[in-house]
């Protein structure tokens, strides 16, 4: 424990200092590499794995069943289509509803017959239809509009709070990095993208910005009078700020990740697929990516954006000399 405390103290005082700003080229390269990779993966793999709510699917209804066991239905569907994982619900007292991904006519009919046989009914007792994608264009479009508006509002907010547009830009780049990486991981592993996962994505945005705001707050504090200093440069002040908030950033991320991890592991292990697992997974990946970007990308990028300004570059040269 004392080692961590000492580390915190050393980082704060500047005795020990991770040269994040100085080594920013490395972090940029790593960041860009991961982003490019994340963009390529879905292209190579042929898209994301969208959940049934986005793709639409087939639905079967069995009325008048003697026992509403869901296992029967599952086995029946899988006997025809082994790979599918149908969503099965009990409707009322004696009906079962089975949702699967969109099946073609022939398969659909086979499933229908299989279900009827499994429940011991005539094939007429099973109705089949397909669902137009639930969320569909309407809601996704609204979510995207919400996203754009959010980004605009937040840039404005930060520009007002920090009084510099460049901080907003740096923060938005970090944000972009987070979302792209999260999507890349989803594409790579093949996690299902459902409306719940989209909720998680949208939350990551808020979280990542939140984290970045705290780091930038310290940066602003440290760089207030840096133009008048003889001994330090803009870059080293920003570096100091990042180091000083490092412990705090780590703390925040751990504290945010713990409940999410808890939901994730219970959701995945006990419940199987579902809303909880989808949201938690997106958040888990996003929070980790968000911490990385607030520490290693947002700050250094800000340095690059501002050091070109005359007063800072001259000072940097003077101090180095």
């Amino acid at each position: 424990m004392s080692k961590l405390k000492d580390l915190g103290n050393d980082l704060y005082s500047g005795t020990k200092s991770l040269d994040i700003v100085g080594r920013r080229k490395i972090f940029y390269i790593v960041g860009i590499a991961i982003v490019v990779f994340s963009i390529l993966v879905p292209i190579v793999k042929g898209g994301f794995n969208f959940g049934i709510e986005f793709r639409g699917g087939s639905e079967f209804r069995i009325d008048g069943v003697a026992e509403t066991s869901q296992e029967i239905a599952r086995q029946a569907v899988q006997s025809v289509e082994p790979g599918s994982s149908p969503l099965i619900t009990t409707v009322g007292l004696d009906a079962v509803r089975v949702q699967t991904e969109q099946l073609d006519d022939v398969t659909s009919e086979e499933v229908r017959i299989a279900l009827a046989a499994a429940y011991g009914l005539e094939s007429g007792a099973v109705t089949s239809s397909f669902i137009g994608a639930n969320w569909g264009a309407d809601v996704t479009e609204k979510a995207l509009i919400g996203l754009v508006v959010f980004l605009l509002l937040v840039s404005l907010l930060m520009a007002l709070y920090f009084r510099t547009l460049k901080m907003s830009i740096a923060a938005l780049v970090a944000l972009f990095h987070d979302v792209v990486i999260t999507l890349g991981i989803y594409a790579l592993v093949g996690f299902e993208i459902t409306p719940a996962a989209v909720i998680g994505f949208l939350t990551i945005l808020g979280y990542s910005l939140y984290d970045t705001v705290v780091v930038f707050d310290k940066v602003r504090e440290n760089t207030l009078d840096v133009e008048f200093s003889e001994t330090t440069t803009f870059a080293s002040q920003v570096n100091l700020a990042i180091n000083q908030t490092l412990v705090r950033s780590v703390n925040t991320s751990v504290v945010a990740v713990l409940p999410v991890a808890s939901i994730l592991f219970i959701g995945a292990a006990v419940l199987g697929a579902g809303t909880l697992r989808d949201i938690a997974l997106a958040l888990f990946i996003g929070i980790i990516a968000g911490t990385y970007s607030s520490v290693f990308i947002a700050g250094p990028l800000y340095v690059d954006l501002r050091e070109r300004e005359g007063k800072f570059s001259k000072k940097a040269k003077a101090v180095k000399a």
């Binding site: 405390k5 000492d6 915190g8 103290n9 704060y12 005082s13 099965i88 619900t89 009990t90 409707v91 009322g92 239809s129 397909f130 669902i131 137009g132 639930n134 569909g136 309407d138 609204k142 979510a143 919400g146 508006v149 509002l153 937040v154 907010l157 409306p195 719940a196 909720i199 949208l202 939350t203 808020g206 979280y207 939140y210 705001v213 707050d217 330090t232 100091l240 000083q244 412990v247 705090r248 703390n251 925040t252 751990v254 504290v255 945010a256 990740v257 713990l258 409940p259 999410v260 808890s262 939901i263 592991f265 219970i266 959701g267 006990v270 419940l271 579902g274 809303t275 909880l276 949201i279």
Partner: protein
């Protein structure tokens, strides 16, 4: 004394918090006695509780089809309608290329069902003939109070037209939609024989808009012969309810429905009112039909060319809102009928809820353990604040569940759990700032005060970002996302309240206790560990004594090792001189 001021302000904040909690609890308690909707347990949404699913199929004239655009538009409108009755996280889905499935959580009340089922065609037709809603043999027993159903203004009560008075003109061609020549003898007979208490309409009957219609009003007390359709419901651009303003501008106690028409509607409506205004009752009335039944048949008080009209009558707040909603959202391109209505048991409903809450609890415990690890004694503050926050959130949700019809869904539960992290983060910001201040050499009480000012700014900025995210998501999206955004926004506000009214005062008070202010190793503000070399701003460092002495010792040891012989001798001489000097 500043110290007593601190205690006073801390106590004031804490008592504000107490007042808030007690107030909310009292409100809900009182509500649960008087109003059946209120209770201390929040309402649950479809995926946690099960709900009702209504399947709608379109009503069409024989041979007509429904275009995808019409279907999409209808879906949009119905979704709006159901959402307008509260944050209900309903789902409106298309099935095949004709049907619409509406899923509503819980057991919907009559109003909501009416809103959905009544999602049929809205039409404006002129009234030609009206009478009591029974077959003509009962025409003698006239009950004046019956007319109360028909909204009027201050005009004289509507006269009934007894069947004998109806002109039995043989079929001359009618010249305008109000012409009584529409009423052929056959029509008149049909009208007389109609008894509103029977079901005289086929469910899903589609009426030809170019010929008169015989129908009753929704309560079955009056029957009408109506002219052809003159204004379509689709031409209503907006409808709302409000209190009636008297001529002096003061609002009275009676409610009315305000209508706005679009361009086409304004023109058509102007024509209608122009024609109807000089006529005598009942022909100066125009009827608004929904699904073929007359929902209101107000008399024309003036020629309305501006496109805005007001319907008055025996409305109260609820009935005027229902009518306004029906008018506003009722302008569907096609009519629908309810094909089926059933209840669904939640698929993994209660199991998911239990497990979700379990996960939340585990997460909470983990977070508390971690913060105890990092901040030691301050974990008391963390736990206390989290408990207060949980209590407040629960009360708010129960309250909003009652007043706004908010329903907690699984996405909402996820939002609550995620918010644990955000709330604890505010504490971390604050604690770390206090530590920063201590590192700069300030005493705990002063550190707490200084840190508060800076931490509050950071917390406000971060919470503003969270809240903006939640608000944008809430306003611009539908369904599941909305529920999540709602809990996220709510917990952000509660986080702010808790930090302002609980965490800070608590820390202020604790700072005055010996355990914390003396920098006990278990207090989380271990001053010895924290007062290391401090960066005191402006590029200056302060080297603390404890550290300096340690380093100095090391340095001096190093130096002694490297001393030359001459220096050693000199040192020894000085030391000897000192010894003798002491003696």
């Amino acid at each position: 004394m500043s110290v007593t001021n601190t205690v006073r302000s801390a106590r004031k904040s804490l008592s504000w918090l107490l007042a808030l909690v007690v107030g909310l609890t009292a409100l809900i308690a009182v509500g649960s006695i008087s109003d059946e909707n209120a209770s201390f347990t929040p309402k649950l949404a479809l995926d946690l509780q099960g709900g009702t699913q209504v399947i709608l199929s379109p009503l069409l004239l024989d041979g007509a089809g429904v275009t995808p655009e019409q279907l999409d538009q209808a879906v949009s409108i119905i979704r709006q309608r159901v959402d307008a009755s509260g944050v209900s996280e309903s789902q409106v889905v298309t099935q095949g290329d004709r049907n619409i499935i509406v899923s509503i959580p819980g057991v919907p009340d009559e109003n909501t069902l009416a809103l959905i089922k009544a999602s049929a065609k809205l039409e404006f037709r002129a009234v030609l003939v009206t009478s009591v809603g029974a077959a003509s043999s009962n025409v003698d027993t006239v009950d004046p109070s019956v007319e109360g159903e028909t909204p009027q203004g201050e005009t004289a009560p509507e006269e009934e037209v007894a069947s004998e008075d109806a002109p039995k003109v043989p079929n001359a061609a009618p010249t305008d939609p109000s012409d009584l020549n529409w009423v052929s003898p056959e029509l008149q007979e049909e009208f007389d024989a109609l008894d509103c208490s029977t079901s005289f309409r086929e469910p899903g009957q589609v009426d030809d808009p170019t010929i008169p219609l015989i129908t009753c009003d929704v309560t079955g007390t009056s029957k009408y012969i109506l002219g052809p359709v003159e204004v379509e419901g689709a031409n209503i651009s907006d409808a709302s309810n409000g209190t009636v303003q008297s001529s002096t501008g003061a609002s009275t106690n009676s409610w009315a429905v305000n209508l706005d028409f679009d361009g086409v509607g304004t023109q058509a409506f102007a024509d209608v009112t122009q024609r109807l205004f000089p006529l005598s009752a009942p022909r100066n009335q125009f009827a608004i039909t929904l699904d073929g039944f007359v929902i209101t048949a107000p008399a024309t008080q003036a020629v309305i060319t501006g496109g805005s009209a007001q319907i008055t009558g025996n409305f109260d707040r609820d009935s005027s809102k229902v009518l306004a909603d029906q008018l506003k959202y009722g302008s569907l391109p096609i009519g629908f009928e309810v094909e089926s209505q059933e209840n669904i048991s939640a698929s993994l409903g209660s199991e998911q809820l239990t497990n979700g809450l379990l996960a939340g609890l585990i997460g909470l415990i983990l977070v508390v353990i971690y913060s105890a690890f990092q901040y030691r004694g301050l974990a008391i503050v963390t736990i206390g604040s989290l408990l207060v926050a949980a209590l407040l959130v629960y009360l708010f949700i129960a309250f909003l569940s009652w007043r706004q019809g908010y329903r907690l869904s699984l996405a909402g539960v996820a939002g609550l759990i995620v918010a644990i992290g955000i709330t604890v983060d505010s504490f971390i910001v604050y604690f770390e700032r206090v530590r920063d201040e201590i590192r700069e050499g300030r005493s705990l009480e002063v550190a707490v005060e200084n840190a508060w000012k800076r931490a509050l700014r950071t917390i406000l900025a971060s919470d503003a970002v969270s809240f903006t995210a939640a608000a944008t998501l809430f306003l611009l999206t539908v369904g599941n996302v909305r529920g999540f955004a709602f809990t996220l926004g709510l917990t952000t506000i509660v986080d702010l309240i808790v930090v302002l009214l609980f965490t800070h005062p608590l820390l202020q008070l604790l700072a005055r206790t010996k355990f914390f202010s003396s920098g006990h190793p278990w207090s989380g503000f271990d001053s010895k560990a924290l007062t290391a070399s401090g960066y005191v701003g402006r590029g200056k460092f302060r080297v603390s004594e404890s550290l300096a002495s340690g380093k100095a010792e090391k340095a001096s040891k190093e130096a002694t090792k490297r001393q030359t012989i001459a220096e050693r001798k000199a040192e020894a001489a000085i030391a000897a001189a000192k010894k003798s000097g002491d003696k």
